[in-house]
């Protein structure tokens, strides 16, 4: 059975970027990822950039409607995800608008964090 673990936190909670606490926590992340990988359970995992980089895509009456910022409709529930590799945001938004759920739901487009090579 495959499971998806979705990570939620307030952006001002936890170690802040650039702090010594965050540097220490990075080691915890690496250790956790390594443990998952070693166990054979890891399929994929990636950190995302902050919500300020998010764009929400909806298609209504055939028109693509973009909103700056993350998706925030409490009635809607997460139903799945795609991870795509394209040149820029415009290409990502085009793919987002073509998702069959876009005419009645929301697609949040969020860039992955680009980690420096370890």
């Amino acid at each position: 059975m495959n499971y998806m673990l979705l990570l939620y936190a307030a952006e001002d909670a936890g170690p802040q970027p650039g702090s010594p606490e965050q540097a220490a926590q990075m080691q915890e992340w690496f250790a956790y990822s390594a443990a998952l990988e070693k166990s054979g359970a890891l399929v994929a995992g990636e950190p995302l950039q902050g919500s300020e980089t998010a764009t929400t895509v909806r298609v209504r009456n055939g028109d693509t409607v973009l909103t700056d910022g993350p998706f925030a409709e409490t009635k809607e529930v997460l139903g799945g995800f795609y991870m795509i590799d394209v040149d820029d945001l415009d290409a990502a938004l085009d793919w987002a608008a073509r998702i069959p759920l876009a005419p009645y739901g929301s697609v949040e487009v969020r860039p992955l964090m680009e980690l420096p090579p370890r």
């Binding site: 950039q49 902050g50 300020e52 980089t53 998010a54 764009t55 973009l66 700056d68 910022g69 040149d87 820029d88 945001l89 415009d90 938004l93 487009v109 969020r110 860039p111």
Partner: protein
């Protein structure tokens, strides 16, 4: 700053060209903006001493490229860009006219990208394309400099983080995205022209900026009817700027304006842009609004205005943009064309239309227009009540003062 160097004159034209070229060359908006600014500082010093160079654009680009290399040498993060920056610095500093058009268009489209929040699109356009300082933009929108700095840096972080590309687009994408660019420019203009929430009625700096941006867009995309229509519209409305306010800062309605104070040069430029827009045989909302304003600016007096023509244009506009405000303006024209009773009838029809009613409930002009027509029809008590509704809905100090005067003079007839 007293400017003997000619930098201020060059700034208008050269700033967006320089930033746009640098964005293409470095792919880094912040770096482009920083080194463009440094190049202009350098120009202010050097040109005063040595005179303006023969090709100011090439001088600025060469200087900015050198600043980019110097800056990248100092920054560990940027050092891996040095080979590319060095290679660029050996390229010709005379950018071809076509390349300048593509680059500046890419810059405008990037600032007006639909994934950026609308208020940030406006701020970015004024900062990155217009070259206004964050402090100037903050003053124009009456927010603190801190708020504006946050708004701009947040949108730059998004551009960087989410990879919003600043690059030339194909024709289909251009046509798709032009309305957003026109919308940003028009909202800068309306913010300057009638700032409903503020004490001062006209903020000329924003009007100037919007007229300039509309002119730039018209240069970059010379064959689009709505781009030419937008330029015509802002010019024809802006031409009446000085006549809209009396010596005491009170608004002067169109009927009472001194038409000799209208700016003839702007009207001529506006009419020229409108006739170019007409040639395409496709009338969009900006062109129709410009045509309405052209009928006003070419009338010798308020009474001699071609009101039937104005009503016909509003009818065409209603087909494309059926909003309550268009319907109200149409009703006011009907009152001039067919009499106050017909106009009042048209205003009251808005309040009964399901799709329009909600937009206008708190709109002061609906009530003040009703008040004027009721007064004309010899129904002063109802007119006073309408002015009271207008006063309750209006939060612009100058307009409130005007409404109080009108209410008092109507009440005197009751």
């Amino acid at each position: 700053m007293i400017d003997r160097s000619g930098v201020t004159d060059a700034f208008r034209t050269e700033w967006p060209r320089l930033v746009a070229t640098l964005v293409r060359e470095t792919g880094d908006l912040q770096l482009a903006e920083d080194v463009a600014q440094e190049a202009f500082f350098e120009a202010a010093k050097r040109w005063e001493r040595d005179g303006i160079p023969d090709r100011p654009g090439a001088w600025l680009l060469t200087t900015a490229r050198r600043k980019a290399i110097d800056g990248s040498r100092r920054s560990k993060r940027m050092r891996d860009r040095l080979p590319d920056l060095h290679a660029r610095s050996r390229l010709d500093a005379d950018v071809s006219p076509n390349q300048l058009i593509d680059d500046q268009l890419a810059l405008l489209l990037g600032c007006c990208h639909p994934a950026i929040a609308p208020d940030a699109q406006v701020a970015l356009t004024l900062r990155i394309v217009g070259g206004l300082s964050t402090a100037q933009i903050a003053r124009a929108f009456l927010v603190s400099e801190q708020t504006m700095t946050r708004r701009i840096s947040r949108s730059k972080a998004k551009i960087r983080g989410a990879h919003i590309a600043f690059r030339p687009v194909d024709l289909e994408t251009l046509l798709d995205r032009l309305p957003a660019v026109c919308g940003v420019i028009y909202s800068i203009f309306t913010e300057g022209h009638a700032s409903a929430a503020h004490a001062s009625l006209v903020r000329g700096d924003l009007c100037d900026e919007a007229v300039w941006l509309a002119g730039l867009l018209d240069e970059l995309v010379p064959d689009d009817p709505e781009v030419a229509g937008l330029l015509a519209l802002v010019l024809l409305v802006d031409a009446r700027r000085d006549a809209r306010i009396d010596e005491d800062g009170m608004p002067v309605i169109l009927a009472d304006q001194d038409r000799t104070r209208w700016n003839r040069a702007e009207i001529d430029r506006g009419l020229d842009a409108l006739s170019r827009a007409h040639r395409h045989g496709a009338a969009g909302p900006y062109q129709l609004q410009a045509a309405i304003n052209a009928l006003h600016t070419s009338a010798a007096s308020f009474a001699e205005t071609d009101w039937q023509g104005v009503v016909a244009l509003y009818d065409a506009l209603m087909l494309r943009r059926p909003t309550a405000i268009v319907a109200l303006n149409r009703a006011i024209a009907v009152a001039e064309a067919d009499g106050a009773a017909e106009g009042l009838h048209a205003i009251d029809a808005i309040a009964e239309a399901d799709d329009l009613r909600d937009d206008l409930a708190d709109y002061p002009y609906l009530h003040s227009s009703r008040g004027e027509l009721l007064a004309r029809l010899g129904r002063p008590l109802e007119a006073v009540a309408a002015f009271d509704c207008a006063l309750a809905a209006c939060d612009n100090d100058a307009e409130r003062a005007h409404l109080r005067l009108r209410r008092a003079s109507v009440a005197a007839c009751a």
